[in-house]
Amino acid sequence: MSKYAYEVLVGCAFVAISIAAYISINTTTGTSFSFNEESSMTSTTFPNFLAIGLGLMGAVFLLGSIRRLYAEGRISASFAKLIGNLWSRQAAITVALVVLLLAYANLIREVNFGVLTFGFLAIGFVLFGERKPLQICLVAAIGAACFYGLFVYVLQLPLNP
């Protein structure tokens, strides 16, 4: 039941993306060499077509989802279930993983690569259900050392050694 509520939100997102894209394409004041101005297809034609097409399909999808949601007859219950699902253990782990990824990206240039990767792996293992500290530290250390060797020495990426 909550799937239809979820689809309503996805439909809204598609419509919002297409509106944002349409506005951005037609208001950007960037550099343009105005090449081939007399052509019926300029640099804005294709993205405009896509934004309009996506918006129309998004609207049709949204209306269909709303219709199916109404057909279910329990709209508030459907959204309540959807919001309830957000507090599940699975959703919490997913959010924690995304936060962990963002933190990793943010710190990759600031903190020693080996230490950061060790920390990322150790927390990741815990999030994925591992609970033995010694095993976690050992595998995280081996993993971090392997990644360090591979990316810093072999691929020579500009990471913080």
Partner: protein
């Protein structure tokens, strides 16, 4: 052509290239065997490690992974009734009951036989059709190329799982993402929202990493704490005897033809083809009631189909630059990242590379057989291990893979954002592979439409000016009309909601 093929084999057998095929095939078998890992994901994770390599060995690793995952997926399908890849789902129907009867080794043997023979047949057909099609393809103009790209996207939307509407929405989103950055022709800024890093467009490798790496791991969170129990402890691969192999010729041929033929249709992939082959095989059988109860042909045919698609998908990929499934979409992306432009001119500009890849495809199929024959115990052991150790490592590889493309943090953020978007969309039943194909084909389509218009003096009628173009437009219109008809006849009926099953990229 035979000379070129012979040279391709000579190159592929060079020690470094051969080693790369071996590594790729081994990793592929491993990734395929573990439910939760997918073929495109394995390819995406390995992609950054190939950056320092020359194009051929880099692509050979990825081809090896692509081939290996096909058979690897059947291991878990037979022993756990959980297919490692969507293409192996059909194998579980007869493989698992056979394993329950204490014949797990035989079931694995039939799967290995089907995969290997199917892969070889698919390769033979690819070798025949690729030069033929590329001879026609090189005569195409920009309008033809644009129409082929558009038709490919419509076909992907029509045949991918779920409704065509969702597929088309994914395609449009992918195409829109592909327009971000400075326009190649007049240099105007598009959809950058003032972000300087987006001037050069959305980093392609980061998009692949996000959609096929991070999104997959986020979807696999539901596997946390799940322990796999094999149907039997005693598993030794038992290859069928030569007489038994020849007795299965009908299943092998049926599977191979369906795999190559349907595999060549962009977007259908192995999953659709295996079900068609299975149904056909049951229809031909004298004992259709045995299907679903451990019938060997019910394992051989889908597995032959599954691996024959590797040859089928190579045909549109190497001749037209149109990927057949998620894995070939990533491989096509690897072409671009290694400075090779895929498309109709590929055979003319990089003939050595094309035949090197084709030789690698056959070698990978044979190596797949040998590795499975002699070292299947490794994959069965890994199948029983907890995957919680693996997923954080995949995330590190995904982040560093994105970082490696530009040497900056920006692609990691792009990968994370697109990973979350892919995860949320897949949960709503939008096939992520359509977005990726839109990103890949977007620049090719737009550039060729504009070139076609310039060459024709701004006449849109150029897109229906010849019979082949008219044919392509007709296919597009028919696909659209079919979808509209389906929507109208289904009006008033509730559309089934999206399934919970995660099949990102396959």
């Amino acid at each position: 052509m035979l000379d070129a093929l012979f040279n391709g084999f000579l190159t592929a057998f060079e020690p470094w290239n051969f080693a790369m095929i071996f590594v790729g095939t081994f990793v592929g078998l491993f990734a395929g065997a573990l439910p939760g890992l997918s073929s495109p994901m394995a390819i995406v994770v390995l992609l950054p490690l190939t950056f320092p390599m020359a194009p051929l060995p880099a692509l050979l690793v990825l081809i090896g992974v692509y081939v290996g995952t096909k058979l690897g997926g059947s291991f878990s399908a037979i022993l756990l009734r959980t297919p490692g890849t969507p293409g192996s789902a059909c194998t579980a129907l007869d493989g698992f009951p056979m394993a329950q009867e204490g014949k797990a080794g035989h079931a694995l043997g039939y799967a290995t036989l089907g995969s290997t023979t199917g892969g070889i047949f698919g390769w033979i057909l690819a070798i025949i059709f690729i030069p033929l099609l590329s001879t026609v393809a090189v005569k195409s103009g920009p309008a033809d190329i644009a129409l082929v790209g558009i038709m490919g996207l419509f076909m992907v939307s029509a045949f991918v799982r779920g409704s065509m509407m969702r597929g088309l929405m994914g395609v449009f989103l992918g195409l829109l993402i592909s327009t971000v950055g400075l326009d190649k022709i007049d240099g105007s800024e598009r959809l950058t929202f003032g972000v300087i890093d987006l001037m050069s467009g959305v980093p392609f490798a980061a998009a692949l990493t996000g959609f096929f790496g991070i999104a997959v791991v986020l979807s696999d969170v539901k596997l946390v704490g799940r322990k796999e129990v094999l149907v039997t402890d005693n598993v030794n691969l038992a290859l069928p005897s030569f007489r038994e192999c020849t007795a299965r010729w009908r299943a092998i041929l049926t599977g191979s033809f369906f795999g190559t033929g349907i595999g060549a249709i962009p977007g259908v992939g192995a999953e659709g083809a295996t079900w068609v082959a299975y149904a056909s095989m049951r229809g031909q059988s004298k004992n259709p009631e045995n299907f679903g109860k451990g019938e060997p042909d019910g394992i051989v045919a889908p597995e032959a189909t599954n691996n024959a698609t590797t040859g089928g998908t190579m045909v549109p990929m190497l001749t037209l630059g149109i990927p057949g499934d998620g894995s070939t979409a990533v491989i096509l992306g690897a072409f671009v990242l290694h400075g090779i432009e895929p498309g109709v001119m590929l055979m003319r500009t990089s003939e050595d590379l094309v035949f090197g890849i084709l030789a690698g495809l056959l070698i990978a199929t044979i190596l797949m057989f040998l590795i499975a024959w002699k070292a299947i115990w490794i994959f069965i052991y890994m199948l029983q291990q907890d995957r919680s150790w693996l997923f954080p490592m995949v995330l590190v590889l995904a982040c560093l893979g994105a970082f490696a493309t530009m040497g900056s943090v920006f692609p990691i953020y792009v990968a994370i954002i697109l990973g979350v978007v892919g995860f949320l969309l897949e949960k709503a039943g939008f096939p992520v592979v359509t977005i990726v194909l839109g990103i890949i084909l977007g620049p090719i389509i737009e550039e060729n439409i504009r070139l076609g218009l310039i060459l024709s003096g701004d006449q849109w009628s150029t897109f229906v000016a010849t019979w082949p173009r008219l044919g392509l437009v007709s296919v597009i219109v028919l696909l659209l009309a079919w979808e509209i008809y389906k929507q109208l006849t289904r009006a008033g009926q509730a559309e089934p909601p999206a399934s919970d099953k995660t099949t990102i990229g396959d």
